[in-house]
């Protein structure tokens, strides 16, 4: 047919707004939009009125003011002369540290428990079931509180390590002693470990506003180079395997290539360990992992692991039995079958619920104050809020930060999820 005739244009009638499918959705959306805008302006209007009534302002200027309080765990430099903004940043970093370590631990533990729950071993299966049920059905706050209590109640105080003159005279040993050749001390405040130090340090690298420790930078560069070399060795091995079918042993080459350069760098920088020493009140020197951090992170990890275990179990069970049978029939050993066949498939089922567990764990770090850990909620949403009285600003900022973290986590994981999705017809 030469041309297609269009239906004649109808004249517009008002009733079409409701009864015509084309306009109807627009009508509804316009109404929704209007209602939404009305609601929004109502909120904003109320806020303005309330602020005026309370004679308050809405500004974030306070973030630049001196914070005046101290924080016990600071990943980047901070003193009580730093600003509230810096304190908030410390909080964010502490939150992230706890979240990252917690997620990693929870994943390892969860996979472990999930697999063990499927084991044929009756006793282990039951124990794992008890673990999962007990942890899942009790509020996470309780686990955090208990973890904090257990850590501080069952470990010796720093003073227990002290050898007083009287004790020396009597030939008594102190009540507690450091482990691993006097290098690690476990007290009821934290774990004191040796810290890496260098003699001929490279100083600091000033790059505009960013100031970096050149030693760390050098370490990272050498490590990256070593890993790259290791990657080359492995891909060579893979090529050899593809050509001859036999994979050359590479583990000693890998170790050499990674360890040697680092040893050389350490020797050149004058690397040594700084051991913790007992001073008047505490162990100083070395590195201290505070119990507040450990308690929060471990409690969250244990709690979340129970959920992850269930997810992993469901994921593995979702892979049809026929898959492992087919692999066995082809002569693959159980270990290989797990690695090559079961896990890659289970992963697809596991990832989406895993994302929400990661999100939950990250959000649950906001309970840190229960064990005296200073996270974002403790700094910006706690002390800063209290000292400045800027509730509106602090809370909004805090929500925005949490939201950003959550969105980043879920979008990264979703990207990963899309990458491993099964191809269907």
């Amino acid at each position: 047919m030469a041309f297609v005739q269009d239906t004649p244009k109808e004249s517009f009638r008002l009733s079409m707004l409701i009864y015509d499918t084309r306009y109807r959705s627009i009508t509804i959306q316009v109404i929704v939009l209007i209602l939404f805008l009305l609601f929004l302006s109502w909120l904003v209007n109320n806020t303005i009125q309330n602020l005026a009534a309370k004679d308050r302002t809405f500004d974030f200027g306070f973030l630049g003011a001196r914070a005046g309080y101290d924080i016990n765990q600071t990943l980047i430099s901070y003193t009580n002369d730093s600003t509230h903004a810096r304190a908030a940043l410390i909080g964010v970093l502490n939150t992230l540290l706890s979240a990252v370590v917690g997620c990693t631990l929870a994943t390892i533990l969860g996979v472990f428990i999930g697999v063990l729950r499927l084991s044929k071993n009756w006793l282990v299966g039951r124990l794992m079931t008890v673990y999962v049920e007990v942890f899942r059905n009790v509020p996470v706050l309780l686990w955090i509180l208990l973890a904090g209590t257990i850590l501080s109640e069952t470990t010796p105080a720093p003073s227990a390590y002290r050898v007083t003159e009287a004790m020396q005279a009597a030939g008594e040993a102190p009540k507690a002693s450091m482990i691993f050749d006097d290098s690690i001390a476990l007290t009821n405040r934290g774990i004191n470990m040796p810290a890496p130090m260098v003699d001929n340090g490279l100083g600091r690298l000033e790059l505009g506003p960013i100031s970096m420790n050149a030693n760390v930078l050098a370490f990272l560069i050498v490590l990256a180079a070593a890993l790259w070399a290791n990657h080359l060795i492995r891909s060579h091995a893979k090529r050899v395997q593809e050509e001859t079918g036999i994979r050359p042993t590479t583990w000693w080459k890998s170790i050499a290539v990674i360890v040697l350069p680092l040893l050389v760098l350490g020797w050149w920088l004058g690397f040594h360990l700084d051991y913790p020493r007992l001073t008047k009140f505490n162990f100083t020197g070395g590195m201290e992992v505070l119990h507040s951090f450990t308690a929060l992170t471990v409690a969250l990890a244990l709690y979340t692991a129970a959920f992850i275990a269930e997810i992993v179990r469901a994921g593995i069970m979702a892979v049809a039995r026929g898959q492992s049978e087919a692999a066995f029939a082809l002569g693959l050993r159980p270990g290989r079958t797990m690695n090559l066949i079961i896990l890659p498939q289970a992963l697809r089922v596991i990832i989406p619920p895993l994302i929400s567990q990661y999100l939950n764990l990250t959000k649950n770090t906001s309970l840190a104050i229960a064990v005296s850990y200073m996270d974002l909620r403790g700094t910006l949403g706690g002390i800063t809020l209290n000292q400045t009285g800027k509730e509106l600003e602090c809370m909004l900022l805090m929500m925005a930060i949490y939201l950003t973290i959550s969105l980043i986590i879920s979008s990264v994981m979703n990207m990963f999820n899309r990458a491993v999705k099964l191809k269907e017809r």
């Binding site: 079918g245 036999i246 049978e325 693959l332």
Partner: protein, 249 residues
């Protein structure tokens, strides 16, 4: 069709229980190299169990199974040896959905037989050509039809160059139009002299290629015979009943 005098599979007085349920009772069976055997029988009679015992997907509790000179015991080495000599094709294909067709076919040769990848791929393409789907090599199983998937499953087994092939109802999950393409593949395999054990109810296939038909009931081998005799002149009542049902259908 050639049947050599060498013994491929020798089963003697084999018994198997699931818990206290006696699935296989006193099974005795000898399969010559190059022989093609069809196993049939009512549902639940233990056909699948028997065939799965042969490559140790199930463990038997009494008696002896010797496959290609190797006795199946708890010794892992023996099991590995047997499994790499015996190919198996399942009712539900059991392709690995996360790997392409080609990867499905090269996986076991590379990891079990340590064949170089290149060579494994060539072999795979050879067998894929044989089952007439070389052009699908880079698709994923989910993108193929059932018949195509089952042919890939056969090719995958063949890539391990097995001496014996086991089939467990390879066509029963397929639409009628696809059954034919799979049976054709199996017939061409039979013509090349592969030792085959096949659980199937496709009596046409049995008549065309089998050297022997074995009829099982309640875990026992009730009757075995060459196909013509088996169909035209069944001996036991049980067999007669069974044949009347499936042939009349």
């Amino acid at each position: 069709m050639m049947v050599s005098d060498e013994v491929a599979i020798q089963i003697t007085n084999m018994n198997k229980w699931y818990g206290s349920f006696h699935v296989l009772r006193d099974v005795n069976m000898t399969v010559q190299k190059g022989e093609r055997i069809v196993i049939c029988g009512p549902s639940g009679s233990g056909k699948s169990t028997l065939i799965r015992c042969i490559n140790r997907l199930e463990e038997h509790q009494q008696g002896q199974i010797i496959v290609d000179g190797t006795e199946l015991t708890n010794d892992l080495k023996n099991i590995d040896k047997v499994r790499s000599e015996v190919g198996m094709v399942f009712q539900h294909f059991n392709l690995f959905p996360h790997l392409t067709i080609l990867e499905n076919c090269t996986l076991a040769p590379i990891w079990v037989r340590k064949v170089p990848k290149k060579e494994a791929e060539e072999t795979a393409m050879h067998f894929l050509r044989k089952v007439k789907i070389p052009e699908q090599a880079h698709k994923y199983p989910g993108q193929l039809s059932g018949g195509q998937q089952q042919r890939v499953a056969i090719a995958r087994s063949l890539c391990m160059k097995p001496r014996i092939m086991l089939f467990d109802e390879p066509t029963s999950a397929l639409d009628p139009e696809m059954i034919k393409e799979v049976l054709d593949t199996m017939i061409s395999l039979a013509e090349e002299g592969m030792t085959m054990l096949c659980v199937t109810h496709e009596m046409g296939f049995a008549q065309a290629v089998a050297n022997r038909v074995i009829f099982m009931d309640q875990g026992q081998i009730v009757e075995q015979n060459e196909p013509r005799e088996f169909f035209n002149n069944p001996q036991s009542e049980r067999t007669k009943l069974f044949l009347s049902q499936i042939l009349g259908h």
